[in-house]
Amino acid sequence: MLYLGPTLFGFLLGFILGSRIKNNPESEMHFPYSSYIVVIIAALYMAWQLGPFPYYVDSPLASGFVACIIGIFAGKIVFGRQPTKT
């Protein structure tokens, strides 16, 4: 069973943090969207290893952790994109 509290507020806090991700196009480091897939896999593995923390009876993944990483990506997609040059 998934609880609303940690899921909702995890997403909200993640969204706030994700909205601040802005990759500098002049930087020598570039993180393409494919690199975010690696982060998602690592995050899901971490959430699996964390288990149903901190309630111990809900889903086998740490729901707050998963909600936060989803929120970070949602915030990045909504507010963190580079303006396209026309």
Binding site: Y3, G10, M29, V38, P54, C68, I72
Partner: protein
């Protein structure tokens, strides 16, 4: 800073931030809470700031963002306290739990945190404290890095004037 660090730090910072958020969200039933989780999130930000520098940092904590988060955190904290004062007569009374059964049921339901513990306003206080601590610690490091940058610029100007 080395290329290996630059490749590693941004993804690692995202995962550390998630751990910080998890620490905030579990603060009412496990060790941790707003301060610890906020410090973890700020640590992830500082990790990025040290490796990429302020200019190329992937997490842009602008002045307006930090002011908004700090103000929102403080105002919501005070607001929760005043709500307790208004509905029960006690500042920061836990309206969601209502141990003394002195508030109406609909008020109790509004301030209830939807999880099996039903800890009332404690998780909300943790969240706003986490926001404040995250911004506060990040602001300190940003200020130090900017001072350092200004000192370096002044030194460079002094050397060029001397020549």
């Amino acid at each position: 800073m080395s290329t290996i660090l630059k490749i590693f730090v941004f993804p690692a910072a995202m995962l550390i931030m998630c751990l910080g958020v998890l620490t905030i969200l579990g603060g009412h039933i496990t060790p941790g809470g707003g301060f610890q989780g906020g410090a973890m999130i700020a640590g992830a930000f500082i990790f990025c700031a040290v490796v990429y520098g302020l200019k190329e940092n992937t997490f842009h904590f602008s002045h307006n963002f930090m002011a908004a988060m700090e103000s929102a955190g403080a105002l919501i904290y005070v607001g929760l306290g005043l709500a307790g004062l208004i509905f029960s007569g006690f500042y920061l009374y836990n309206l969601g739990v209502d141990l003394y059964s002195i508030v109406p049921t609909f008020i109790k339901n509004i301030f209830d945190y939807p999880d099996p513990i039903h800890a009332g306003i404690i998780p909300y206080l943790n969240i706003v404290v986490g926001l404040k601590v995250m911004v506060g610690l990040s602001a300190v490091v940003i200020a130090f890095m900017q001072f350092n940058h200004e000192d370096e610029n002044n030194d460079a100007d002094g050397e060029s004037d001397g020549k």
